[in-house]
């Protein structure tokens, strides 16, 4: 089982859209996939028309394997299951702070259901919290969507400093972070400059694929399905497919 986290400490960068489409792409490639929605807003589940999990409340996520397994729902698509979130997920940090080994709890919880899956995709809430530390510890790849703006560039550097700095508890996480440019508007000079600068600063870390800004991604909320499903030939779908291909490659080469 490989764990791929879609993560950013900044909100609104396209994490959920990326999780949903990447999970769909991994499943389409023949892998058995679980998309695990860690964001209490439950948007990933919403895109797949799956209702919030009702019984997976409070500490149960980290302490009760059977409840986690029971909360998993089959999506409408072959090979793809969803673990939907609910509002109690907003208190994950509180529960984690009470537990021993609080940074490896997520990995343990996922391992318990992981035998059924080849890939687990995590849709993570935007913050730097104990849950984030769990994500960083558990994931084989941490995929960070980056809008090529000054502010996003800054948050990306902050993330790298956080995981690689002197206080970092797990310096290997830095090597597992990959970024891709998200919501790119080719016409904007700022976007082009930022991308060029970041590619130079992080030549291996940034994926080649570029996700263009597109209303197709916004239409996911109306269609309640991945772009790859309802608009497979559009540029955003092509970009997600390329991101998937690059990630698959990185997972294979370790």
């Amino acid at each position: 089982m490989k764990i791929v986290a879609c993560y950013s400490n900044k909100g609104g960068v396209g994490k959920t859209a990326a999780s949903v489409n990447l999970a769909y792409a991994f499943a389409g490639g023949g892998a058995r996939v679980l998309l695990c929605d860690l964001d209490p807003q439950g948007a990933a589940g919403f895109y797949f028309r799956v209702k919030p999990s009702q019984k997976l409340e409070n500490e149960a996520f980290f302490e009760d394997d059977r409840q986690v397994a029971k909360a998993i729902r089959g999506s409408d698509f072959e090979n793809l299951d969803i673990l939907p979130a609910n509002l109690s997920f907003r208190d994950f940090d509180v529960f984690l702070s009470r537990m021993k080994n609080s940074r490896s709890r997520l990995k343990k919880a996922l391992k318990a259901v992981g035998d059924d899956y080849d890939v687990v995709v995590l849709d993570c809430p935007p913050n730097l919290s104990t849950l984030s530390e769990n994500v960083l510890k558990a994931a084989d790849l941490i995929v960070v969507p980056v809008i090529p703006t000054t502010l996003s560039e800054r948050t990306f550097e902050q993330l790298l400093d956080f995981v690689g700095g002197p206080d970092a508890k797990d310096t290997t996480a830095r090597d597992r972070i990959v970024g891709f440019f998200s919501m790119v508007q080719r016409s904007k000079l700022l976007h082009a400059d930022t991308m060029a600068r970041m590619r130079e600063a992080h030549p291996d870390r940034m994926l080649q694929a570029v996700l263009p800004f597109s209303t197709d991604v916004e239409r996911m909320g109306v269609n309640r399905a991945p772009v790859l499903d309802f608009a497979p030939d559009r540029p955003s779908s092509q970009a997600y497919r390329q991101i998937h291909a690059e990630l698959t490659d990185r997972l294979r080469t370790g």
Binding site: R32, V50, K51, D81
Partner: protein, 506 residues
Amino acid sequence: MTRRDKTVLFLAGPPVDGASQGRLGGLDLVVTGTDAAASFVMLDDFGGTVRSAGQLLIETGDALILIDPDQGVITQPAARSGNFIADLQAGPVRDALHRVSPLRSLLRIGTGTISGRDLSLTDDEGKTRARARLMSLVPAGPGAALTVATLQGLRGYDDALVRLRDHLTAGAAPVAAPAQVLFPDKPPHVSKPAIPLAEDRSAWATATDIIAAHLDVARRNEAGIIADHDTEFLHHHRVALRKVRSVVSLFKGVYSDDQTQALKQATADLMAPTGRLRDLDVSLLARDDYFAMLPPSLHPGLDLMFAMFGTERRRAQRSMATRLTGARYDNAMSDLQALVDGPDGPRKGPLADRPFGPYARRLIRKRYRKVCRIARAIRDDTADDQVHALRIACKKLRYLIEFVAPLLPPGEIKPVLKPLKRLQDNLGLFNDYSVQQGALRDFMQAHEPIGHRQDLVLAQSIGALIAVLHDRQAEQRARITASFARFDSPDVRARFRTVFPKGASG
């Protein structure tokens, strides 16, 4: 959804329109797709291997579909180079058909019309909670239509699956034997007929029943030999006739001497013309084996030999087909059937009215003693004639045990037959290698010259083949004493005494 076990239901009749749509306990049942009606062909081998496993194998358009009660509906491209399993493209259907013998051809069992429709049970968010695919099969013949429902549950929505299944089964009765419903006039062929036996029924009546059943088997295989679907038809035809002959010759005293003689002659006449074609079949089936025995430098000679076998086989098959469709063969068979089925039956011999059970057990005991007598005299330097005599004696013992097997509890026969079979395997290989060498020598002497150079190539390969076969025969010969020692163990001896006891009337 991850792949979950699919449930297949066979339901009587075509799907009812109303059953595909509506509300089911707060969920919506909707048709999400339909396939236009198309023609289909149902395939199986002659013995019904696919049908006996509860499966249906269907070819429609360019798809080959296997419906398996446990594995669900499996599909692969239908394009194939022939009708044997090895001729199918590699794929999940071919994998799932592993029970079908590689020697058996797939035959067209029946045809009809197939149509499909996909159902989905969705909730108020438009989320699918369970799916079903309904395949309706309407046979062209006298059979009845049925629907194959493949239900697919989605993880976490077990209730919806149960609801959908209940809904579908409420409208139509389940079908236990789908192939029989579709094509009731095409039952699988049974090559080992179950003949009801009774301990105290007369030996004469029982023997006559066994003969009648095997004559029937021989006849049922005729069409397949004529059509040349596969080599098993001729093989089973010959086995059936051999069983008839065995009953006649082994059940001594059941029929009068002249009747026994006449029946022996009749079966010998029926079997004789089948020998050459069977020999050629066996040689051609051993093709891969022969190629593996020789280095590639000697393969050209084998190519020549097999090409000649192929030509001769085509001729032999044609003449066999002509013979089987001719009046002479039909009369001979019909006369034999009329004799055993007729009101008077074959003429009785002095032991005709003996009860079958004790009569047969006595024969088995005698034959067993004979096997042991011959075998115990065999040493490493004993002439091969004695080994052949042992093989024949074992074969007769085996037939006798199999004839009487229905009278015995199923668990008792196996411990006796198993060591006998092992000994027979050894003796059988010894004999096969000997027969093959003889056949190759005959072929060398009898074949039409094909040019000096080619004849030389052929002779080299055949010579080498004979040398390898000779070695193999010697290997088998060396094992016979040990094989018999295993068969002649105190345990097997004790079992023979208990399974075939000497009764008051035996």
